[in-house]
C-alpha cells in the first residue's frame, strides 16, 4: 500500500510527468516520503549528497552562509520543483544549504539507489537526464540574469 502510494505520488509529481510506468516503478523504489517543519534544513553545504528532493508542498530557501553576512538566499524553490542536482556529479557533495521556509512535504530520492539503477539501465538514466538538464539550463539562465544585476544602477 505504502509503495503503491509512493508510486502514485512520484508519477504525479511534475518533474516525472510523462515517465514510463516501468521507469516510475524503478524510481519509486528509491523514494521516501519526508516532511520538514519551517526552519528545518533539508541539507547542509559540504555534506554528502545522499538524496535529492521533489517538493510537493511548501517552499525551500537555497542558501549560502558567509562570515559576517549570515545566510544569503539565492533562490527559493516550491511545489513541483526539485532540490539537489549535485547527486549527479562526483564528488556528490551539497553545494548549498536548503532550509524549509514553511511546512515542506517532499519525496526524498535515495541518490545511490538511483545512480545504481541509472547505471544498470541507461534508458532510465537518459529519461532522468532529459528532466534534469532543462532544470539545470533554467537555473543557468536565471543565474546569468542575477549576475548581470540588471536592476542595478547603470554605470
Amino acid at each position: 500500500m505504502e509503495i503503491e502510494n509512493l508510486d502514485r505520488i512520484v508519477r504525479e509529481h511534475p518533474f516525472f510527468a510523462g515517465l514510463d510506468e516501468a521507469f516510475c516503478r524503478l524510481v519509486s523504489g528509491c523514494a521516501q516520503n519526508v516532511r520538514f517543519d519551517a526552519g528545518q534544513f533539508l541539507c547542509h553545504e559540504g555534506a554528502a549528497t545522499d538524496r535529492f528532493y521533489l517538493i510537493r508542498k511548501g517552499r525551500v530557501a537555497l542558501q549560502f552562509t558567509a562570515p559576517g553576512r549570515g545566510a544569503m538566499t539565492f533562490q527559493t524553490v516550491g511545489e513541483g520543483e526539485i532540490v539537489g542536482v549535485s547527486w549527479l556529479i562526483p564528488p556528490y557533495h551539497w553545494t548549498h544549504d536548503a532550509k524549509a521556509l514553511d511546512l515542506v512535504r517532499a519525496i526524498a530520492m535515495d541518490a545511490t539507489c538511483l545512480r545504481d539503477k541509472c547505471e544498470a539501465d541507461h534508458d532510465l538514466g537518459y529519461e532522468l537526464m532529459k528532466r534534469f538538464v532543462p532544470a539545470l539550463v533554467q537555473r543557468l539562465q536565471a543565474t546569468r540574469l542575477q549576475i548581470l544585476d540588471v536592476y542595478g544602477t547603470p554605470a
Binding site: A71, M72, T73, L101, A142, L145, V150, Y151, T153
Partner: protein, 277 residues
C-alpha cells in the same frame, strides 16, 4: 500652430508632492496645468524639464482614471533626474506630453493578462494594472509578476501588499538576492512564470523592464505557451524630442517615442537582440 499646441514647448506646472519610494527612486506628483491636462493612456510618458538642467522622458505611473494627478516615478541616475529629485512642493517643472503608444488594453479584453515587471519598470506598468482592476470584469485572470533587486528595492511595497489581499488578482514578488529575514520568493522574475495561474493560449503578456530581462521573459513566456502575437513590451531608448523628429530613438523602422514605447513583440522580434540597432 499656436505656441500652446506646439509639442516641443514645455508647459509650466507645479510639483504638488514628492515621495521617496526606495533609496534612489522617488515619485513626483504634478498638478495638471489645466482642465483635461491630466488625461493619459496607460504606458504613455511625459517629457519633464528641470529648468536650467535638462529634460528627460518619464513614464506616467499613476491611475489613468484619475486625471487630477500626474504621477511620475523616477530613478535618480543622472543630472536631470537628480535635479528632479531635489524639487519640492510648489516648485516649477516643465512638462510636455503625454506621448507615445501605451499598453493594448482593448486587445487584452477577454484574456488572462500577465504583467511582468522588473525593477523601477514596475512604474510604467502600474497604470495598466489600475485599468485592469478598474474594469476587472472585462478580463480573465490578472497576474502581476514583479522582480526587484532586493527587498529594500521593492517599489510601491505597501500598495502591493494591499493588492495581494484582493481575491481577483495574483501578485507575486521575487527578489534577486536576500538575507534570511526575507520570506518571499528569491530568484529572477522569469522563475515566477511557470507558477503563474494563466491559460497560456488565452493569455496576453505585458513586459516592462531592462531589455535583457525582457528577452529572458519572452523566452519563458514562449516556453509556457504564450503566443508571440500576445506579447507586448516596453522599449527603452534615448528619447529626446518625443515626437519622432530627431531620430535619436530610432529602432529599426520605428521611433520608440512615437511608435512605442510599447510594441507588439511580433513587430520587433527580428531586431530585438541585434547589437547594431
Amino acid at each position: 500652430m499656436t505656441p500652446a499646441a506646439d509639442p516641443m514647448l514645455p508647459r509650466v506646472a507645479r510639483v504638488r508632492a514628492r515621495r521617496r519610494e526606495s533609496p534612489d527612486v522617488f515619485t513626483l506628483e504634478i498638478a495638471p496645468d489645466g482642465p483635461g491636462a491630466g488625461a493619459f493612456a496607460a504606458g504613455q510618458f511625459n517629457m519633464l524639464t528641470a529648468f536650467g538642467v535638462g529634460e528627460v522622458p518619464i513614464s506616467l505611473s499613476g491611475d489613468p482614471g484619475d486625471p487630477s494627478r500626474l504621477i511620475h516615478t523616477i530613478r535618480a541616475v543622472g543630472s536631470v533626474s537628480g535635479a528632479l529629485g531635489r524639487l519640492k512642493k510648489g516648485d516649477m517643472i516643465g512638462l510636455r506630453g503625454p506621448f507615445g503608444r501605451g499598453w493594448p488594453m482593448e486587445a487584452a479584453a477577454g484574456c488572462d493578462v500577465v504583467l511582468v515587471a522588473g525593477g523601477v519598470a514596475l512604474a510604467p506598468l502600474r497604470p495598466a494594472l489600475y485599468r485592469l482592476l478598474a474594469e476587472r470584469e472585462r478580463y480573465g485572470n490578472v497576474t502581476l509578476l514583479y522582480g526587484a533587486r532586493s527587498p529594500d528595492d521593492i517599489l510601491f511595497r505597501r500598495e502591493l501588499e494591499t493588492l495581494r489581499r484582493r481575491l481577483d488578482v495574483d501578485i507575486e514578488v521575487t527578489v534577486d538576492h536576500a538575507v534570511s529575514e526575507w520570506h518571499g520568493h528569491v530568484g529572477v522574475v522569469t522563475t515566477l512564470i511557470p507558477r503563474a495561474a494563466i491559460d497560456p493560449p488565452n493569455t496576453v503578456a505585458f513586459i516592462c523592464g531592462p531589455e535583457v530581462m525582457t528577452r529572458f521573459t519572452i523566452m519563458a513566456l514562449r516556453e509556457a505557451g504564450v503566443a508571440d502575437e500576445a506579447i507586448y513590451l516596453a522599449m527603452e531608448r534615448n528619447m529626446k524630442c518625443a515626437v519622432g523628429f530627431c531620430g535619436r530613438c530610432q529602432f529599426g523602422g520605428d521611433f520608440v517615442c512615437r511608435d512605442g514605447p510599447v510594441f507588439p513583440y511580433a513587430r520587433v522580434r527580428s531586431i530585438l537582440a541585434l547589437k547594431e540597432i
